[in-house]
């Protein structure tokens, strides 16, 4: 193999800026606590998000106990039930999934995958985490304040959210809105980092069209989040003013508990528009990183390039753009201007096309692959099934007139859990099994992983697939008890009990996963630098786990796209992105 100077290879520009010296930690505190290393910040984000996510998981058990066995558990009353559903939803969507995908995976993978030493603004990145932690603590504190957390539903619709008929009206709603404001401030600091790092800190040769899809997904989601979260920010500030100062941004003249309130002149629908202008992109803020990551899992473990890479990139960008013009499909029965229905139904169903292209390309990647059914691949397959299922039911709810009977029923609950609950969590879990060896240097236990996959995947499917049919029957969501209703047969109650039993089983089976994470940290098989024989840069670091600055003395130089798997004539079935082309030709020559 001849060593060729990279200046001689077309497509590799000379370095534009000198390599920078990072701030190196001088003590245990600045290394592990107030760290400016994106990898440490990523782990901090991931652990905090998982911790509050476990709280939300426990809340879901309490909800399922009540729904499956109404009247059995005297410690759950109607107010608490509403508080459980509210906190479960808010935590899962924002404090777990958004924080985990962008703050966790984004921080860890972006610098490594683009060949940077760190995020471009390490100090702001550190601040981002601490503000996020503060947001989580404020949120968690609502469990301990008088009146408890808000029970307004995660959508926090006024007027109900700030009136006395709703639990948590005293402190819960105020702290919830404050926590959201903090979260958005923290996210913005992190988000700017992710975007600038992808745009400005890619190593030489790493053109945009050589980026792994993981980076494309996280990058696009971050841009979207930076555009969408401000809508939630202003909605939160205005609702807080309505609650604290008695302004009426969202509050019309109304009667509160029998007496005329001081409010007047505001519009409840305005809040809904602001909320969903954020809320719909939010679905894709969670989904796009999952799309990106799962593409890389599938490609790596099927030993085959992702099919239609360019189409995949454009589909991500198209979905991101379109998702800003569909928000009112959450409001078909809100009482908004009825003619909006035509527009928003059309835009919503158009999104199905780029989304379907992604699904086709994932399964076409499997075609004539060399599919290693390792745990990350199993989770990727589980993702495809649950995502296709949840995506297709979206075509019901997006089609305005079909949504009319189904909205506000359990069909909606089943749909969004399948598509933005189970499916992204499948990717999160698959991604943890995939990158844990890089983060810790050790493999997770395979047998425990397979057990965890099958219980989680089949269990989650058994929870949410039949739930659609309760909604089709007409069972409404957010009901503490169904009570007497002639249209609900007793078999529906049996189904609810069944779903609850499965939900508790799946919930407890996560203990196996937690055990695996802890046990493998010390006893797991040593992973080596590149256990999956993957092409992307994070697997080519000189040390595993990567040290501060990621790359030792020299930054890597990228010569090819991220998907050179099973290249004809190459000796190995993968060629890392930083392997020079001439060297391959030499290998090819030797092979022929």
């Amino acid at each position: 193999m001849v060593d060729i100077p990279y200046e001689g290879i077309p497509g590799i520009p000379p370095a534009e800026v000198p390599d920078v010296e990072l701030y190196h930690p001088r003590s245990w505190w600045t290394r592990y606590v107030f760290s400016q290393d994106a990898k440490v910040i990523a782990v901090q984000y991931a652990l905090t998000a998982s911790a509050i996510g476990l709280v939300a998981l426990v809340l879901s058990w309490l909800m399922r106990l009540q729904l499956g066995f109404p009247g059995t558990f005297s410690f759950i009353d109607a107010n608490q039930y509403l508080q459980f559903i509210t906190m479960h939803g808010m935590i899962m969507v924002i404090y777990l999934l958004t924080a985990l995908f962008l703050g966790g995976f984004g921080n860890y993978l972006i610098p490594l995958m683009v060949g940077a030493r760190d995020m471009v603004f390490p100090y702001v990145n550190m601040l981002s985490y601490w503000v996020y932690l503060l947001a989580v603590l404020v949120l968690a504190s609502t469990f301990f304040v008088p009146g408890g957390p808000t029970g307004a539903g995660w959508t926090l619709y006024p007027p109900q959210a700030i009136l006395s008929g709703t639990p948590g009206q005293d402190w819960g709603i105020i702290l919830m809105l404050s926590s959201l404001i903090l979260f958005i401030i923290g996210f913005t600091m992190g988000g700017l980092n992710y975007v600038v790092t992808v745009l400005q800190a890619r190593t030489r040769g790493m053109t945009l069209m050589r980026l792994p899809l993981t980076v494309w997904g996280i990058f696009t989601a971050t841009v979207m989040a930076l555009l969408a979260f401000p809508a939630l920010f202003v909605a939160s500030v205005m609702l807080l003013l309505d609650r604290l100062l008695g302004t009426s941004f969202f509050m019309p003249s109304l009667v509160e508990m029998g007496t005329l309130s001081k409010y007047g002149g505001g519009s409840p629908l305005l809040f809904q528009h602001l909320f969903w202008f954020f809320g719909h992109p939010e679905v894709y803020i969670v989904a796009l990183p999952a799309f990106g990551i799962v593409s890389d899992l599938i490609s790596t473990h099927a030993r085959k390039n992702i099919f239609g890479y360019r189409m995949m990139v454009w589909a991500i960008v198209a979905i991101g753009a379109l998702s800003f013009v569909v928000w009112a499909h959450h409001m078909y029965v809100s009482g908004m201007f009825p003619q909006f229905g035509y527009f928003f139904a059309t835009t919503t169903l158009i999104i199905a096309i780029p989304t379907a292209i992604k699904v086709y390309n994932w399964v076409l990647t499997l075609w004539r692959g060399d599919i290693h059914l390792r745990v990350p691949m199993l989770f990727a397959l589980g993702f495809i099934i649950t995502f296709v299922n949840g995506g297709l039911t979206g075509l019901f709810l997006g089609n305005v007139v079909v949504d009319v009977p189904l909205s506000d029923t359990m069909f909606v609950v089943a749909h969004f859990h399948m598509v933005m609950g189970v499916a992204p969590i499948m990717v999160v879990l698959g991604a943890i099994y995939h990158w844990y060896p890089k983060v810790t240097g050790r493999m997770l236990n395979d047998a425990l992983g397979k057990f965890h996959f099958w219980v989680t995947f089949l269990g989650a499917y058994l929870i949410f697939f039949p739930m659609h049919y309760l909604g089709l029957l007409g069972v409404p969501r957010r009901y503490f008890e169904l009570g007497d209703a002639a249209f609900i047969p007793s078999s529906a109650h049996s189904l609810n009990a069944f779903i609850s039993v499965v939900a508790l089983t799946v919930g407890f089976s996560q203990l196996v996963f937690l055990f695996n994470l802890a046990w493998s940290l010390f006893k797991g098989e040593a992973a080596g630098g590149n256990p999956w024989q993957a092409t992307t840069l994070e697997w080519q670091t000189p040390e595993t786990p990567p040290g501060h600055g990621n790359w030792g003395k020299e930054l890597p130089i990228v010569y090819r796209w991220a998907y050179d798997y099973s290249v004809p004539g190459a000796e190995e079935d993968f060629i890392p992105q930083n392997q020079p082309p001439r060297a391959t030709q030499v290998v090819q020559g030797a092979a022929s």
């Binding site: 109607a78 307004a152 007027p159 109900q160 009136l163 008929g165 019309p252 003249s253 109304l254 009667v255 409840p268 099927a302 085959k304 099919f307 890479y309 360019r310 029965v333 009825p338 139904a345 169903l349 199905a352 096309i353 379907a356 292209i357 086709y360 399964v363 499997l366 004539r368 692959g369 060399d370 290693h372 059914l373 397959l381 099934i385 296709v388 299922n389 297709l392 039911t393 075509l395 089609n399 305005v400 007139v401 009319v404 009977p405 506000d408 697939f465 039949p466 049919y469 309760l470 029957l473 007409g474 957010r478 009901y479 503490f480 008890e481 009570g483 002639a486 249209f487 078999s491 099973s566």
Partner: protein, 277 residues
């Protein structure tokens, strides 16, 4: 190959569950069978795609799972295949969207001969109002609400005096008569939801929303609130009864008008009875 088989069983099991599920939509009581048809079309198209994608995936797992010496193809893209798949998807989407939009047009176009009925939501009960002999509902305002005027009718509006006001009672509608249901709330969001009607709409304080139906069969149906409205959301119930013409009028004759219910209205009432002048 166990994994491929399980994946396939998930698809087949889902289809069988769909076919044999005892949980299905309630027997319809209005003209909105069109909505049910659109749902059926959507089930067919999406069901086909679901089974096709998973079956293909299961086949790939079965056929191409790792064996010693297997090597994957190198196949970056196939423009023609991607193009055809996009077009096919577009056709499928159009086949669902087009009937959906046609039915939506019907849904938002209230027939001229529809009579009006008002439903008012408040935490946590329903009230109903029907126009009196003049066929018109009187105006209302949340600021008029008082113990003898729970729906906040405008005492100066002659049209309101003969309105039939139903507090804590059930709503009756006449079969075969299209009705525009006006929806109003005095406190928070609610949603007037009768599963057998298929139609529903939120009630927003400060705004009057609506939907229309034409009841096609008689019966008694549960009214639920479908928009979270606070602690007792789940207990906000009423019944709506679809009657034949004769029963409907018998019921209507027993109801009280606003003027009769509101003793403070005697002067206005007298004015109204003398012809509203």
């Amino acid at each position: 190959m166990a994994v491929a088989l399980i994946l396939l069983l998930v698809a087949i099991g889902s289809v069988l569950f769909h076919l044999y599920s005892p949980w299905w939509w309630t027997p319809i009581a209005t003209n909105w069978a069109y909505i049910d048809h659109t749902i059926s079309i959507t089930f067919w198209i999406t069901g086909f795609v679901f089974v096709a994608v998973i079956a293909f995936m299961a086949y790939c797992v079965f056929r191409f799972h790792h064996k010693e010496g297997r090597r994957a193809d190198y196949n970056p893209e196939n423009k023609r295949l991607e193009w055809w798949l996009s077009v096919g998807t577009g056709v499928g989407v159009a086949a669902m969207l087009a009937p959906g939009l046609v039915v939506w047009h019907q849904f938002v176009t209230v027939p001229a001969d529809a009579t009006e009925v008002e439903v008012m939501g408040q935490q946590w009960q329903w009230s109903f109002r029907l126009p009196g002999k003049d066929g018109q509902l009187g105006t209302s305002d949340v600021r008029n609400i008082a113990s003898d005027n729970p729906m906040g009718l405008n005492r100066d509006d002659a049209h309101g005096q003969d309105d039939v006001v139903i507090e804590n009672g059930d709503l009756h509608l006449q079969v075969g008569k299209p009705v525009k249901i006006l929806l109003r709330s005095v406190d928070v969001l609610h949603d007037f939801y009768v599963p057998e009607f298929r139609a529903k709409m939120d009630m927003v304080p400060g705004v009057v929303t609506y939907f229309w139906i034409n009841p096609i069969r008689t019966g008694t149906f549960d009214v639920l609130c479908a928009e979270l409205c606070g602690a007792a959301h789940y207990q906000m119930r009423a019944k709506v009864i679809i009657d034949e013409e004769r029963e409907y009028h018998a019921w209507l004759g027993q109801q009280k008008t606003f003027a009769e219910l509101s003793p403070g209205n005697t002067i206005v009432k007298a004015t109204y009875q003398s012809g509203g002048k």
